[in-house]
C-alpha cells in the first residue's frame, strides 16, 4: 500500500513536470505579434538593382475583416512602392484599445499604429511622449503636409504639433428625406418651412398614405444609438442638440439653447399627434433600417445612402422592392423661428474616429513616414480605395466601376490597410453624389474637434443626461417648460458650464 502511494506521488510529479516543460517549451514559439509564414519574396525581386534593403517596420492596426490575412496583394504592393517590409499585427476591433494599451505598457513601440475613439486617447499618448510630431518632417514628406493642411486647425495641438492623421476620412451626412410619392398623393410639396413640415408630418402619419386602412406609418423613427433623426426640427430653430459648434466665435452646445426648448415643444406636439414612432427609444439602428425599408417612415432625417441606386450597403433596393411606387427625395431644412443658415446638421470629426500615429521611440521612423506619405499621394489614395486601375477597377469620366466582386476584393485586400485614407465615393451612383453634395452643404463643423481639455470627462454624462431629459419631454413624461428648466439645472450640476468655458478658452487659444 505504501508503495502504491509512492507510485501515485511519482505519477503526480511526472505529470506536473510534463506540464512545466510544455509551458517552457512553448516559449520557443512566437512571443508577440508575428504574422503567418510570409511568402512575399515576389515583392522584392523586381526592385533588386539599386534598391537598399527594405526597411522592416511593424504596424499595429485595427482589424477590418476579422480572420482575413494581411499577406496579400495589397500589402505587397505597398511594400514595393515604399521599399519596406510590413509586419502587421491586427487587433480585434472590440478590444483594440485595451490590447494596444497593454502592448505599449509592456514596452512595445510599433512604428505605425491605429489609435481609436476619443480625443483623450491621443492626449494621453502625447502627454506620455509616445507619439511622433509629424509636422517636423513636412519638408521631407510634402504629401503628408498636403493632406493635413485640409484639417490643420483641428489637427494641430496646443504645442503647435500634429501627432495623428485621420486613418479613414469622410463625412457621412444625413439629410431631411421624404416619401415624395406620398406627398404627391396629397398634393404636397417638399416642405420649406416648419409649418409646411408639420402639415406633411400629420399627413404621412395619420392620413393613411399607404392606403392599407391601418395606422402604421409615421413621419419620424429613430434608434437608441444614433440621434440625428430629429435634427431637422432642431435645425429649424437654429440649434444642433448634443453637439458643440461655433457661433460668432464662441463654442456653444445646442442642447441648452432657447431654440432647443422650442424644438422640443414641436417634437412633443409631433409625438402627441402620433407622428413619431414611440419605439424610437428602444429600436436598434438595424430595426430602423428595417422599418424604413418596409415603408413605415415618411419625413425624417436619414442617410444619403438611401439615394444610391447602386444599392451600396443595401439601403436603396429593399424599400423599392417592397414598394415599387416609392420615391425617396431629400429636402432642405424646414425654416422655423431662429433658423440660421450656418447651423444645420452634425458632422463627424475631421480628426477621425480612427487615427494613425507613429511611435516616437520606434526604430525606423523614416520608413514609417515614407509609407504614410505614399498613401497620401493621389496614386496611394486611389490604390487604397479601389486597387489598381485595369486590374480591379475601371474609370471613365470620374466614375469608377469596380470590376471584381466582394470576395476577390477581400482576397486582394482592397482598403484593408487604411492608414491615411480619404474615403472616395467615385463608385457610387450619380444620384448618391447629388444627395451627398446637397447634404454636405448642410453640415456644421464640430466646435470641439481636436480640443482636449480635462473637463471633457464630463461629456458622456452630459450627453446621457441631456438625452434622458429630452426624451422625457418629447414623450410627455414631463411638461416642456418645467422639463427644460430642470435640464438647465442638471446641466449646471454636471459641470456643463465648466466644460463650455474650457472649450472656449482652448478654441480661442487655437484660433488667435
Amino acid at each position: 500500500m505504501l508503495k502504491s502511494g509512492l507510485k501515485k506521488i511519482l505519477l503526480v510529479m511526472l505529470v506536473l513536470s510534463m506540464l512545466v516543460s510544455l509551458i517552457t517549451g512553448c516559449q520557443k514559439t512566437t512571443s508577440n505579434g508575428t504574422t503567418a509564414a510570409t511568402t512575399t519574396t515576389a515583392a522584392t525581386t523586381t526592385a533588386e538593382t539599386t534598391a537598399a534593403k527594405p526597411d522592416e517596420i511593424s504596424l499595429v492596426v485595427t482589424e477590418l475583416w476579422p480572420g482575413v490575412t494581411y499577406e496579400n496583394f495589397n500589402k505587397q504592393h505597398i511594400e514595393e512602392k515604399t521599399n519596406t517590409k510590413l509586419k502587421v499585427t491586427a487587433l480585434d476591433a472590440s478590444t483594440a484599445n485595451q490590447q494596444l494599451n497593454v502592448m505599449l505598457a509592456a514596452g512595445d513601440r510599433p512604428e505605425i499604429m491605429h489609435i481609436g475613439g476619443l480625443e483623450s486617447y491621443e492626449t494621453n499618448y502625447v502627454k506620455d511622449g509616445l507619439l511622433l510630431a509629424i509636422n517636423k518632417y513636412y519638408d521631407k514628406y510634402p504629401n503628408l503636409q498636403n493632406r493635413i493642411q485640409k484639417t490643420i486647425n483641428m489637427s494641430k495641438r496646443d504645442d503647435g504639433n500634429v501627432y495623428t492623421i485621420n486613418a479613414s476620412a469622410g463625412q457621412d451626412p444625413w439629410v431631411p428625406s421624404y416619401r415624395k410619392d406620398w406627398l404627391d398623393k396629397f398634393s404636397l410639396g417638399i416642405p420649406q418651412t416648419l409649418d409646411e413640415y408639420m402639415i406633411v408630418a400629420d399627413t404621412v402619419s395619420n392620413k393613411d398614405p399607404d392606403g392599407n386602412n391601418q395606422k402604421d406609418t409615421f413621419a419620424i423613427g429613430g434608434s437608441k444609438t444614433d440621434f440625428r433623426f430629429f435634427n431637422h426640427i432642431f435645425a429649424a430653430f437654429g440649434v444642433i442638440p448634443y453637439y458643440w459648434y461655433v457661433v460668432d466665435g464662441n463654442v456653444v452646445n445646442g442642447t441648452i439653447q432657447p431654440g432647443a426648448k422650442e424644438a422640443l415643444r414641436t417634437l412633443n406636439k409631433l409625438y402627441t399627434m402620433k407622428a413619431i414612432d414611440p419605439e424610437f427609444v428602444t429600436d436598434t439602428s438595424k430595426r430602423v433600417k428595417e422599418k424604413y425599408s418596409q415603408g413605415k417612415y415618411g419625413a425624417f432625417c436619414y442617410g444619403t445612402l438611401c439615394f444610391d441606386t447602386f444599392n451600396t450597403y443595401g439601403y436603396y433596393k429593399p424599400l423599392h422592392d417592397s414598394n415599387p411606387a416609392a420615391v425617396w427625395a431629400y429636402g432642405p431644412i424646414p425654416k422655423g423661428t431662429g433658423f440660421n443658415e450656418k447651423i444645420g446638421m452634425q458632422s463627424l470629426s475631421e480628426k477621425g474616429w480612427q487615427r494613425t500615429a507613429i511611435c516616437a521611440a520606434a526604430k525606423n521612423i523614416d520608413a514609417a513616414l515614407r509609407v504614410i506619405d505614399w498613401m497620401c499621394t493621389d496614386e496611394g489614395q486611389m490604390f487604397t480605395n479601389y486597387g489598381l486601375e485595369g486590374q480591379h477597377y475601371t474609370m471613365k469620366d470620374d466614375v469608377v466601376t469596380i470590376t471584381i466582386d466582394d470576395a476577390k476584393r477581400q482576397e486582394v485586400g482592397v482598403t484593408q490597410l487604411y492608414l491615411a485614407q480619404d474615403v472616395l465615393n467615385l463608385h457610387y451612383s450619380k444620384e448618391y453624389q447629388q444627395a451627398f453634395d446637397f447634404a454636405s452643404k448642410l453640415l456644421t463643423p464640430m466646435g470641439n474637434d481636436g480640443l482636449d481639455v480635462p473637463e471633457s470627462k464630463y461629456l458622456v454624462e452630459l450627453n446621457n443626461n441631456s438625452r434622458t431629459q429630452y426624451f422625457k419631454i418629447i414623450t410627455g413624461e414631463v411638461p416642456v417648460d418645467k422639463g427644460f428648466d430642470e435640464l438647465l439645472a442638471q446641466w449646471k450640476t454636471l459641470h456643463g458650464d465648466e466644460l463650455a468655458a474650457a472649450y472656449n478658452a482652448a478654441y480661442k487659444a487655437k484660433n488667435k
Binding site: Y125, K457, K472
Partner: protein, 328 residues
C-alpha cells in the same frame, strides 16, 4: 540542544518556566507530527498554491494604481502617487448613491426571486421518475443560457413591441394600446429579473441535481418503512442533502451583490430607463474603461472587492451561527 531525558522532564515539571518550555516543545513536536501526517495533502495543495501566487498574487501588485495617476508610459512604479483622491472623486460623483441604490435594488430582487427558483425546479425534477423525460427536460431548460443577451433583446423587441409584438396584438384585441415596457421605468426592473430567470434557471439546476443524485436511495426506503409520506421525505431527506450546496451558493451570490447584470443591462438599457437601471458595473465601464482611465477603474474595482469581502465573511458567519456549514 538540551538533551531531553525523563529525569530532566521530571525536574522541569515543577518549574513554571520549565512548564512553558515543555509545552512549546510538545507543540512543536505535535506540529511536525501533523505536517508529516498531512504530507500528501499538502503536496496535493502545492500546485494550486503556486498557481495562485503566480497568476493572482503577482498581478495584485497592480492594485496600487488605484492610488496613483496611472500613465502607461510611466508604468506602475513611476506614476505619481495621489492617495485616496480617486476614491474621493468616485464617491463624490453626483449620482454615486443613486447608482448604488439601483444596484442594490436590482441585485436583491434578482436574489430574492432568482435564487430559490432553480432549487424548487430541481426538487420537482427530482421527483420525475422517467429517466428519459428527466434527461430531456434537463437538457432543454439549460439551453437559454447559451443565447446571448443581444439576441434575447431582439426577441424581447419582437414580443413586447407595442405595434408588432404579441403583447401589442393582445392589447389591440381589447382595443387598447400596449405599454412600451422596455422603455418604461416602472416595468423595466421586473423585466430584467424575469428575463434573467428565464435565461439562467436551467443552468442553475445543474449543481442541485448533481447534489440530489448523490443521496443514498436506502435513506428513502428506510423513511417509507418508517411511514413517512412524500412531503416528510422531502423535508427530512432531500432538502438537508442539498443544504450544503444551497448555503454555499447563497453566500457567494450575496458576495457579488454589487454585480447586478452588466451585459444584460448594457444591452437592454435605453435613455428613458437608464436612470433606474444604471448600475455599478455600467457606471464603472463608462467612467473608467471606456475613457481609458485605468486608475479610476481599478479604484472602483478595489472598492467593490472590499465590499464583497465584507459581505462574504458576514454571510459566512451568519450561516455558521444558525448551525449551517459556511463556505468551507
Amino acid at each position: 540542544m538540551i538533551p531531553v531525558t525523563p529525569r530532566y522532564n521530571a525536574k522541569c515539571k515543577n518549574n513554571i518556566r520549565g512548564k512553558e518550555l515543555l509545552n512549546l516543545r510538545a507543540n512543536r513536536n505535535n506540529s511536525l507530527k501533523i505536517v508529516r501526517r498531512d504530507k500528501y495533502l499538502l503536496l496535493l495543495l502545492l500546485p494550486g498554491i503556486v498557481y495562485f501566487i503566480i497568476f493572482k498574487y503577482l498581478p495584485m501588485g497592480g492594485l496600487i494604481i488605484a492610488f496613483k495617476d496611472y500613465s502607461i508610459f510611466k508604468g506602475m512604479w513611476e506614476s505619481p502617487w495621489v492617495g485616496f483622491n480617486i476614491f474621493r472623486e468616485v464617491f463624490s460623483s453626483y449620482d454615486f448613491l443613486h447608482i448604488i441604490r439601483n444596484t442594490l435594488l436590482i441585485s436583491i430582487y434578482k436574489i430574492a426571486f432568482g435564487f430559490p427558483i432553480p432549487i424548487i425546479i430541481s426538487l420537482m425534477l427530482n421527483e420525475i421518475r422517467s429517466r428519459h423525460f428527466k434527461r430531456s427536460i434537463q437538457t432543454i431548460i439549460y439551453l437559454p443560457h447559451f443565447v446571448s443577451w443581444v439576441v434575447i433583446y431582439g426577441i424581447m423587441l419582437t414580443i413586447l413591441s407595442p405595434s408588432y409584438g404579441i403583447l401589442g396584438d393582445i392589447y389591440q384585441m381589447f382595443g387598447k394600446e400596449a405599454p412600451h415596457m422596455i422603455a418604461n421605468s416602472r416595468y423595466i426592473r421586473s423585466l430584467l429579473v424575469i428575463t434573467e430567470i428565464w435565461k439562467e434557471v436551467g443552468w442553475g439546476t445543474i449543481l442541485y441535481l448533481a447534489s440530489l443524485s448523490t443521496v443514498d436511495p436506502n435513506l428513502y426506503e428506510a423513511a417509507v418503512i418508517d411511514g413517512a409520506n412524500k412531503l416528510r421525505q422531502v423535508i427530512h431527506i432531500t432538502i438537508p442533502s442539498i443544504m450544503g450546496v444551497v448555503v454555499l451558493l447563497l453566500i457567494l451570490r450575496i458576495g457579488s451583490l454589487l454585480s447586478a447584470g452588466f451585459e444584460q443591462i448594457l444591452v437592454i438599457q435605453n435613455d428613458l430607463t437608464r436612470p433606474v437601471i444604471d448600475v455599478f458595473e455600467t457606471f464603472t465601464f463608462r467612467r473608467g474603461i471606456e475613457l481609458g482611465n485605468y486608475s479610476y477603474a481599478t479604484a472602483v474595482g478595489l472598492f467593490s472587492s472590499v465590499v464583497s469581502m465584507i459581505l462574504v465573511v458576514s454571510a459566512d458567519r451568519l450561516a455558521k451561527s444558525v448551525g449551517e456549514e459556511g463556505l468551507l
